[in-house]
């Protein structure tokens, strides 16, 4: 594949929220690069800052209690510093977003087609009839059966999977170059999950749609992502291509994530593997590497924050934040198959 210019470039993004208990550093120096036509997956558990990162790019975390710094360039426009009107013209238009819960993401009092028409008319000067036709086309394209008829349904008359399809249709209505999908399958049944992922993959392939996929589901990542960023407690701890992350994971947290994947091609463990401990509170994050308190291989140096940098000569695009020597990591990883995770006794 010929590398193309990055469509979205995020540098040193930091987001903190003032709460009653103090300042929560939800995102702490995140950098990402999404090339046109690629699917970049941001994985991490709840509270890792992945959704906040995505919503900040859309300007949805702006508010009196949020402090946002850093830079994010999308198609030549700086998003973080953009004024509200500038951002409004981009979102829904050049970049669109779909959310975790399709049940509550559509306004219950308007017909599905009308909600799509509303978005089209917010950005383009087209008549209602033309916009409606476009809406029906889109609903048909995302696989809503009898789209012309179902277009006049209310959201509650749709199933969860159909609602997420409708959300996707809406997101595509102005042919954006970037789709941000925030846990798009989490609230859906497993079979419907597979359909939605298949739909997203088709859009990426056929329409050259770039996708920033936010998920905690490493299985989904394996199916669709070109590149993966692993987030933990507000920071990216590892960043690389799908193969690099899956076949040569460098960060002990990534080993944990991959190890917690249940695999049908391996003997069934007595208990599902898990990473011991709990994610840290972002009100008072641990000093140094955020994963240190849960890491089986932590040593003195981990009290310093490791930079996110390339530590492997043969794969220079593979970054991680771990002080361990690469050779030592490979050794440790071999123990107990996927490394740090010993089965809890």
């Amino acid at each position: 594949m010929i590398p193309r210019d990055p469509l979205l470039e995020v540098r040193d993004l930091a987001v903190s929220f003032n709460t009653e208990e103090g300042s929560v550093q939800a995102v702490d120096g995140v950098g990402l690069e999404l090339r046109a036509g690629e699917v970049l997956a941001v994985v991490g558990e709840s509270g890792s800052g992945k959704s906040v990162t995505a919503m900040t790019l859309m300007g949805l975390t702006r508010g009196p209690n949020a402090a946002i710094s850093g830079a994010a360039t999308f198609e030549g426009t700086e998003l973080i510093g953009a004024d509200d009107e500038e951002l409004r013209r981009i979102r829904g238009n050049r970049m669109a977003m779909i959310f975790q819960d399709p049940m509550s993401s559509l306004d219950p009092v308007y017909r599905v087609a009308d909600q799509i028409v509303e978005q089209i008319q917010a950005h383009r000067d087209v008549g209602s009839a033309e916009a409606r036709e476009r809406a029906i086309e889109l609903l048909d394209a995302v696989g809503i059966p009898a789209a012309a008829k179902r277009a006049d349904s209310y959201p509650h008359e749709f199933s969860g999977g159909m609602r997420q399809r409708a959300m996707i249709a809406m997101a595509l209505s102005l042919e954006p170059s970037l789709l941000i999908a925030d846990e798009p399958t989490t609230a859906l049944d497993v079979t419907v999950q597979a359909q939605i992922i298949e739909l997203l993959r088709g859009l990426n392939r056929d329409r050259d749609l770039s996708i920033l996929l936010i998920t905690h589901d490493i299985g989904v990542v394996a199916e669709i992502a070109d590149r993966v960023a692993v987030m933990y407690a507000g920071r990216i701890v590892e960043y690389g291509t799908l193969d690099e992350i899956f076949y040569d994971p460098q960060h002990p947290y990534t080993w944990g994530l991959l190890g917690s994947l249940t695999r049908i091609d391996r003997p069934r463990p007595r208990r599902l593997p898990q990473i011991p401990g709990m994610p840290p509170s972002l009100l008072a994050p641990p000093q140094g590497c955020h994963f240190r308190p849960r890491c089986a291989h932590a040593f003195d140096r981990c009290l310093e924050v490791p930079a996110l940098e390339s530590r492997l000569a043969d794969t220079p695009s593979h970054f991680d934040r771990c002080w361990l020597e690469p050779a030592r990591k490979r050794e440790l990883r071999e123990v107990g198959d996927q490394g740090a995770l010993e089965e809890p006794r």
């Binding site: 859309m58 949805l60 979102r91 829904g92 669109a96 819960d101 509550s104 559509l106 306004d107 209310y154």
Partner: protein
């Protein structure tokens, strides 16, 4: 959908009639077991003789069994021939005379309180937590705490009697002089609205704040809609559902008796004031009539609210099952 609508209408109509029947029986019975309630004694004058009372009893049929009296009362009510025991005037005519006054008061006040409640509730929600929001919170609490008979009396005294800006109570027909009509109603409208504005704006404020956290509002922003459109078309539209429901119920209640105090304080001579006077005189026919009048409006608006609710929120189906 249409057949569902028709079934709903028929069912609702039947239950309305049942409620009205129950109300009428209840009022009739209460009146008859009340001490000092014997109308013949009251009608006979200051120091009646037993024969006089007996004669009145026979003339008006008070000696007949209760159910006969009840049936006759209802016949008179619906034929418009009901006569007051105290004033000997036709009750229907009195109610017809009071109706435009009561309606003028209720419709005007309802529009005023809704308009102000939306404006203040929206403003307060947008400024939530700031000084102006806290100020409005206090103001709303004061408004809710001021009884109509007190604030109304103050208004009449200071703005009417003392300052002479507004008329000292009373009512002028719209057809006689629209400007005077308006001028006479400004104070009653205000007095009646204050409580509702305070209450409604608080309810709307919390509904708006709750709606703002909804996922579909986030979607609306993500679609690139202007903040104004997000607020009006998505936040306010959804927040209005409960308050419009409340509005219909309260409007029915205001016509059906909740305006008694306002009408009396401002001497509007509406149906409410007529009801108050009749109760004071233990005058059964008008009490029966105004109670039925009030019950009719309350029951009717309850039904209208159900219909409006289904229209405002597509998730609600009148029949309780989905159409299609």
């Amino acid at each position: 959908m249409n057949s569902a609508m028709a079934r709903f209408a028929v069912r609702r109509l039947l239950s309305m009639l049942l409620v009205l029947f129950a109300v009428s029986v209840l009022v009739f019975l209460i009146f008859n077991v009340m001490p000092n309630g014997d109308p013949a004694v009251r009608m006979a004058g200051k120091i009646p003789t037993e024969t006089q009372v007996e004669a009145i009893r026979e003339e008006w049929g008070f000696d007949e069994p209760l159910y006969v009296q009840y049936v006759r009362t209802m016949e008179q009510l619906f034929s418009g021939e009901m006569i007051s025991y105290a004033t000997r005037q036709n009750v229907s005519e009195e109610i017809w005379k009071g109706l435009p006054r009561t309606l003028s008061l209720a419709v005007g006040a309802a529009l005023i309180w809704m308009a102000f409640a939306i404006a203040l509730g929206l403003y307060s929600a947008l400024r939530a937590g700031r000084l102006s929001d806290r100020f409005l919170t206090v103001l709303a609490l004061i408004g809710i705490s001021m009884p109509v008979f007190w604030i109304g009396a103050l208004m009449v005294y200071y703005l009417g009697y003392k300052a002479g800006i507004f008329p000292n109570g009373g009512y002028v027909e719209f057809t006689v002089n629209p400007l005077e009509w308006l001028w006479h109603l400004v104070l009653p409208w205000t007095a009646l609205s204050i409580l509702f504005i305070g209450f409604y704006s608080r309810v709307l404020r919390s509904d708006i704040l709750e709606t703002m956290g909804e996922d579909y509002v986030r979607t609306a922003r993500a679609k690139g809609l202007s903040e104004r459109r997000v607020l009006l078309k998505h936040v306010l539209r959804n927040s209005l559902i409960p308050i419009v429901t409340l509005w219909g119920l309260d409007f029915g209640a205001v016509i059906g008796g909740a305006a008694i105090l306002t009408e009396t304080v401002f001497d509007l001579q509406g149906v409410g004031q007529y009801a108050a006077e009749s109760i004071k005189g233990l005058d059964l026919p008008p009490i029966m009539a105004v109670t039925m009048f009030g019950a009719f409006f309350i029951v009717t608006f309850n039904a209208l609210v159900d219909i409006a609710y289904a229209a405002l929120d597509p998730r609600i189906r009148l029949e309780g099952r989905s159409s299609r």
